[in-house]
């Protein structure tokens, strides 16, 4: 699992050297942000189902083009597709908050996933819309502190960016 720490050590080890001062600065930066990340991780874990449900419910009511029951463009289909997959992405975002790097998203949610979506003709729009909703929905201090929200939103953006 990649994190700032493992990346720094792996690079130093590969070159047979000690971590440089800029390496240590990046580790220090990651540690300084860890309290905010763990706060976001804890809040997200406690509300995972609610966040996922709200994201897909909201983007359904927002996009009235979805309506034909039983077809690909039915709200039921859209909902069910989002339900499983959005929870999956939120779980990877939660892991990434804990790790302090995008490793879990990169390894389990991004690498190869773009190819699979293209090869099987799977729609990315539902994920993009639901995750975008989650990003715009977060509110401080109601949901979490400003720093925690910054960490959380950065990972949501990272996921949205990589999906499309």
């Amino acid at each position: 699992m990649k994190s700032v720490v493992t990346t720094v050590i792996a690079a130093a080890d590969a070159a047979g050297r000690f971590p440089s001062s800029s390496d240590l600065e990046s580790v220090q930066g990651s540690i300084q942000r860890s309290a905010a990340r763990l706060e976001a991780a804890e809040k997200l874990a406690g509300n995972l189902d609610a966040v996922a449900k709200e994201a897909y419910d909201a983007c359904i009511s927002k996009y009235s083009y979805l309506n034909n029951a039983g077809q690909a463009n039915s709200t039921d289909t859209f909902k069910a597709k989002c339900h499983r997959d959005i929870k999956h992405y939120l779980r990877l975002i939660q892991y990434s908050l804990v790790v302090g790097g995008t490793g879990p998203l990169d390894e389990w949610g991004i690498a190869g996933q773009r190819e699979v979506y293209r090869a099987l003709g799977l729609p990315t729009a539902p994920y993009v819309e639901a995750l975008s909703f989650a990003r715009n929905r977060g509110c401080t201090p109601r949901d979490m502190s400003a720093q925690a929200l910054t960490e959380y939103n950065a990972l949501l953006d990272y996921a949205i960016n990589s999906l499309s």
Partner: protein, 423 residues
């Protein structure tokens, strides 16, 4: 290409173009340019092409616009719009690696013999942080021999999907399959994505020797069937083997019993029922099959009721767990689930499509002859794997009435199976 998800949005071409043409900062809260650009894949028209090219030229650096531009590239690729090539080409030099990836992919779909353009794509292999896999796949797809040396430098790449694409591409460009065993080995890689992508590489390289290994690879049967079918069609067309040679692998995959798979993981101790049920929801199907196997072997008595409970609670909306639960009702021969299985057989929602095939197999296992008429209805479906699985179920139930209607089916596998059953 399966297009069942393309018509996700009920927009007209004009509406989608109008939304896409709206400046990013003026889009209404109730609209999405990303949805509009995704939806335009349904319209292979001049006005759509022009709208997609306009979107490509809208270079606002915001995340929302960036993803719209990438989708424009993908859609132009899917529509195979060669007039778009001069507009796609500059994207190869952009900073955003996903934009570059989509541009390369789109050029691969559209096709080109322009050596300068192909050299430009080859040069990306020497640029840091690109998606080398897609670049290598595209160069091989376009048969660009001068890229061989550059591709060769990736055969020892540390990321398995890149290494695997390089080996497969060399086989494709030179006919030398000497290293393809290394790709076959990846069918047992601990990372599910490495396993899925290895199937694609085996398909691309026409590596027929891997058909049986693909049939046993612990990924969703969607990937296995796609690979086996592609290789079967190519191999039969090339006179390498016949339907009878690959039939056991096709049927083993459609039947999809967990003991027929080479699972890559094991439990280190006997697992409790709730834990195993929970694992059926995993996004790595390898773990779902492991859980299914343990449920069959260790919890055959208690599992069915828990499965029915989880079905009503959550699996009825989770298309992954839904599939495994339906399958397990068959393996455990749980008669009280009959109505649930019949419902799954006739579920037309696209994300539950593979559960229909699962239901046909489960009904064969259940052995209840009331299912015959429901199964016969499925022989009218356009979905080949559902029809084939239905034939397997009818064979198991010993009732071949209705099979003659698919003897001349437009799908050659279905037709071959029906002919064999009636001969």
């Amino acid at each position: 290409m399966d297009k069942r998800f393309f018509k996700l949005f009920d927009l007209t071409e004009e509406q989608a173009i109008a939304i896409l043409d709206t400046p990013p900062d003026q889009v209404s809260e109730n609209d999405s340019r990303y949805i509009a650009v995704s939806h335009l894949v349904n319209f292979p028209t001049e006005q759509t092409t022009q709208a997609l090219i306009r979107a490509l030229q809208q270079t606002d650096p915001s995340l929302d616009n960036r993803i719209v531009r990438r989708k424009s590239l993908e859609t132009l690729g899917r529509l195979r719009e060669s007039q778009a090539l001069p507009f796609i080409r500059p994207c190869l030099a952009e900073q955003d690696k996903f934009t570059v990836e989509n541009a390369v992919w789109a050029i691969g779909e559209i096709g080109t013999e322009d050596a300068e353009l192909l050299d430009e794509i080859t040069a990306l292999l020497a640029t840091p942080r690109q998606n080398y896999r897609v670049i290598i796949q595209t160069l091989a797809k376009l048969g660009y021999q001068p890229a061989l040396d550059a591709i060769r430098s990736f055969v020892d790449y540390p990321e398995p999907p890149v290494m695997s694409a390089a080996i497969a591409s060399i086989a494709r460009l030179t006919g030398d399959s000497a290293q393809m065993d290394q790709v076959t080995v990846l069918l047992q890689h601990p990372n599910v994505m490495a396993r899925r992508l290895a199937i694609q590489d085996l398909m691309d390289a026409r590596y027929y020797d891997a058909i049986s290994a693909i049939a046993q690879c612990p990924v969703s049967l969607v990937f296995r069937l796609r690979g086996i079918r592609c290789l079967a069609e190519a191999g039969i067309a090339a006179g390498r083997f016949s339907f009878a040679d690959i039939q056991p692998d096709v049927e083993r995959t459609l039947r999809d019993h967990p003991t027929d798979l080479h699972l890559v993981s094991t439990y280190d101790r006997p697992s409790e029922l709730p834990f195993l049920i929970h694992d059926l929801y995993d996004t790595d199907f390898g773990r779902c099959y492991l859980a299914s196997k343990a449920l069959i072997q260790d919890h055959a008595q208690a599992a069915p009721e828990s499965l029915l409970a989880t079905y009503h609670e959550e699996a009825c909306t989770d298309y992954g767990a839904h599939f495994h639960v339906i399958k397990l009702f068959g393996w455990l021969q749980y008669a009280p689930a009959y109505d649930v299985i019949i419902e799954a057989l006739h579920n037309h929602q696209p994300q539950f499509q593979k559960s229909r095939t699962a239901a046909a197999i489960a009904l064969g296992e259940l052995g209840d002859h009331r299912a015959v008429s429901d199964l016969q209805v499925c022989l009218d479906s356009p979905i080949w794997d559902l029809k084939y699985a239905t034939l397997m179920a009818l064979q198991k139930l010993g009732d071949l009435s209705g099979v003659e209607q698919v003897v001349d089916d437009q799908d050659w596998l279905v037709s071959a199976k029906a002919t064999q059953l009636l001969s």
